[in-house]
Symmetry: D2
């Protein structure tokens, strides 16, 4: 709270004299200002400003997660901040519409001056990727050098440090492993869940057998159930899971995966409501970043077609590869594969239900 | 769970033969099909389909609210359904962009055939308004007759019944009045809050006095604080509040208003998190409906300009009036006026904090 | 074309060290950084960057319009630039969703430090308004002083100069007046149009008389036509039009209005296609700015409710007034009122049609 | 124009009693209505309504293109209709946000009842694909049967007929081949263009040689230019082009490609303005359909994870394949590869410039 008010002017508060004096058209410097270069600079600057905001939110979220115990009201704060990051992503995707008003012919007026500057050199975007959990060995290679060779001095150091620190992915994993609900008051979640899955499949097979189906259709459906069963078996088996991690098929630890499954299945319990929203927001973020990359590819296609990029290969091709490959929370999205209908969901004993609820009931 | 699977085809499941056979161009009937009439019909049909979905969500929400006690997990359900309604509203606003590709000249090809059919005759939209809580006497009058004279038979009856039933507004009010947190364990919320407001204002005045301001600026700021004080005094006084209700300045009862204020101030407490989201979603809905009306006015302006409408007066003028006048949850939006900075917020005694929290702490 | 390539880095090209170092939280300076202040600063900075881009486009458009003769290919350029401005407006409206993740309680953490800084002090936004054609005497008054008293020195001078220069509105008016199509090759557009309107109304009255309508309905419809006729009479009469200008009911000159009408009616002629798109883009811009103001009001309502603003009165109230009052191209929108169905549109003589067409026909 | 007005009611005009009575929840039929099934039905119905509108626009566009000569004013009509289709696509993408409010757990309440109904069975969407030009042999195979085995009787026949008719792609190709600008008044476009490309590359190499670059950087840049040269050579050679068509690398004929290139390069000429907008709108449509497929994949991932689909394989996998593979106008997007900066663009002789312009100059 301000005790001594001062007199601030909007222009100074926002350092506008600095921000609005940072558009230096290289085409102008080289002789003839290209009208369209202004848009190119300004949209990239807005991207960078928003990246700074995303870093601000991610950073504060990770600080909260590094605490030994996470107060529930903080989960609320985290959910709100991730929601904000996702809303920012909406704008980042949407404003590509503005850039797409620049056509190929317009872009060529100043494109050559830029070489080899490129969005790959966005330090902040690299930081976002690393903080979310993208590991250097999982990156799609582009050219011969590691991505951080783009940076020097303090900027390079910062990236290398981040690579070694805990990421949002690893903090999430630890938090999920710490959640105490997998086994409590004699309720063994994994076992109960396995039983439910078995029961569901038996019922499904019975249904198919007694249904009025063609032989072909019946065989198909039974085969589907068999394949589903194998999938469930593999996922629920800790050893198999660890093997899959080793082979790079999955990343999230067995225990964390089970907790994430529990949260997804029992998300209507008050205490799990916000954790569920948080897991969901991470899948959302992954999807929104992928959508941004995808639309980015389209924009480059419109602007450059198949033109050979400044690094000697197609930038569009690189971007295309990252759409799927740089996703980080696929394991959380895949939990959907394990969902079972509420009618098969094991009932929680009242004692446990109470524990997951508020002290003050039924407002 | 399906025990006996059957064989469904997409086209039958969606009754597409019915839905896709319901576009009868009146221009075609009258002689010459106007290309653009198809869009006019189809966009209105999608609006009506979405209205049906909104009614489905509102209806189910109101059923949950009519229960004597509302289980917390149901608040979660309600919040999700209101969130869906708000997402639908986004599409309803956004798809006006499609209709705006029809220009004035295009519209005139078939406009005369439609008279006097009009969006005012949307039975479902009227139901939405009434279910949310719009009272006939609060409606902006259009032409000489009550709005429901547009309908006959069962449709009219249905509207009249809804007018008499509880609305979402009245159910909300009762629920807020029932919430037991205004006074518990010797903590009198309203009193504590009043003290905090007083303290805040004193500090502000002190700060202004000791600041290095021009005489003019100082006087202005002190006057502002005085006006704020009067506002707080009026709002916190139950008698004044009831007078304001009588005079039509506000609608929500004193007790419900105080509960809404408490929820807004202490929304970080776990048990208040979802109630806060719910209140927020209602303000959001009000704003989205208003935005839809606003953009609707703009579209009509582009299509018809100031043309005299089929009822003998300007449809655009009517729509313009409803933008603000048909808002229903302004009292909830106005709670923002009463917010005070967290630094002045009275601390909740630990006993109460525990009550508002989960049984299972610190996951 | 670059003849001598140089080596540019993305970070330098975008002056990121400057742009990303311009976020100075006043709350941090005063003792305790408020997490949410970062968003407040960054979103305003992106707004200002986009304003700079809008000014860049408006400015270049006005340069093209100041030429004595406007090459048609330039109309294409102008249309593309206005389209870009409109796409920018979409982002400016859409990104309010991000700011709305900041709640009242969050904002109060640092709001007091800002006083009296305010968006009213955005120099660039004032310039946009003035360049489009907003005259100081048409502005909604806020507080006792003229809006430019917010600025000093060169910034004030710049605004005062712009006020005296030609605006996009006045350049548009002159261009419309210069268009040579109102009377050519013996075709007097206004006269032909008047005849068509008369004919249309007669037919409508005949139709009503012979239709199977209730007496009440018939009277209503005839009254509507009468009112429409009066409207057309008034608009087509030059003297009446000039009176309306004097009384502030309309702004665009009689001749410019007639040209705008002609463009709207015969927009399918090749040479009028782009001029029509340009007129349309101006109405669109007016509407998008109004939508931005409208959503801005809603955001302030959610953030501050009815709080007394820093200038001693309600900022929300001011904003609300400007939504309609600061529109500039209403006269163009109102052309829609004068549209008549294509079936009544006077045919253009072949000689004229050819003139409005390409040299090279039927590609 | 209506000569005899009649009395139409909104509800009848829109056949609402039919449209709003077409939501039959199979879960209700089977015993217990699942709340969420309503959304599933309604959103699919709105999709189908919009598909009907898209078909309406495509159909009318193709009728105009089948004419021997296309009047320029018709190009304007076509551009507006394609623009509308693109705006519809925006809504189709955007409203996925509504469907994504349905979670995995919600969907499982009724999913089993639907089998094997699936969006693959949308007759209208298949028609859109075929009308745009998707050939059965270019389709990503799904299961063992051709896609049209989903349909029977008249619906199947209709699809088979469409497969044999001209598509928008083939009509576009013919129209581009017919455009008379490649060689006129002694101006041989392809030759002039080739010369310009050569000249550009020579200048670029000169520039690189005289620039202050590292040896490594110089070699890289020269290699890039060599690769670009090869690309241009291949594209401009008719024989090579025909070989590429045979090998399935490209589809658009050599002559049509050259015309599309000319339109892109000289789009500022009045007569080419609308043709350019049309080509652009097709690339846009391709991208928007791809974006819709892409977001559709994401939605399925959130709803079903890696669940085995009803046809025995992963629906998500099928969809993923179609994102790129079902694009139709990639050849038009790739024109961007051939753009050269305006400074190298061969000047058009005045005689030709006049031909591409309006009769009435300089309005």
């Amino acid at each position: 709270m301000s005790e001594k008010p001062s007199s601030v002017h909007y222009i100074n508060y926002l350092s506008l004299d600095k921000v609005l004096d940072a558009q230096n058209l290289v085409s102008k410097e080289k002789g003839k200002a290209a009208h369209e270069e202004m848009l190119f600079i300004i949209i990239h600057q807005t991207y960078e400003l928003w990246f700074k905001q995303i870093l601000h939110e991610l950073d504060s979220t990770m600080v909260l997660f590094r605490a030994k115990q996470i107060d529930e009201s903080n989960i609320g704060v985290i959910v709100r901040r991730m929601d904000r990051v996702n809303k920012i992503m909406n704008t980042l995707v949407g404003q590509l519409d503005i850039l797409e008003t620049m056509t190929s012919l317009d872009f060529l007026e100043f494109r050559d001056y830029l070489s080899p500057a490129s969005g790959f050199q966005s330090h902040q975007f690299r930081k976002i990727e690393v903080m979310l959990g993208l590991k250097i060995e999982k990156r799609h290679q582009f050219g011969g050098c590691p991505y951080h060779s783009q940076f020097e001095g303090k900027k390079k150091e910062e990236i290398l440090n981040l690579e070694e620190n805990e990421s949002l992915f690893s903090l999430l994993e630890k938090w999920l492993e710490r959640i105490p609900f997998l086994s409590m008051e004699g309720f063994d979640f994994t076992k109960k869940y396995e039983e439910a899955v078995s029961q569901m499949m038996e019922k499904e097979i019975e249904g198919i057998k007694s249904a009025n189906l063609t032989e072909e259709d019946r065989t198909l459906r039974i085969r589907m159930i068999d394949e589903n069963r194998k999938y469930f078996d593999r996922v629920l088996n800790e050893e198999e899971h660890n093997k899959a991690i080793k082979e790079g098929e999955t990343k999230l630890s067995y225990k964390a995966t089970m907790s994430a499954l529990l949260i997804n299945l029992y998300r209507d319990q008050p205490i799990l409501h916000l954790p569920y929203q948080f897991l969901r927001s991470l899948v959302e973020l992954d999807h929104k970043i992928a959508t941004w990359r995808f639309r980015h590819v389209q924009m480059v296609e419109k602007m450059l077609g198949q033109k050979i990029g400044t690094g000697g290969s197609s930038g569009q091709g690189y971007l295309k590869q990252t759409v799927d490959k740089h996703k980080l929370f696929t394991d959380l999205a895949n939990i959907a594969t394990l969902m079972i209908s509420r009618s098969y969901l094991p009932d929680l004993p009242k004692k446990i239900k109470d524990k997951l609820s508020f002290n003050y009931n039924n407002i």
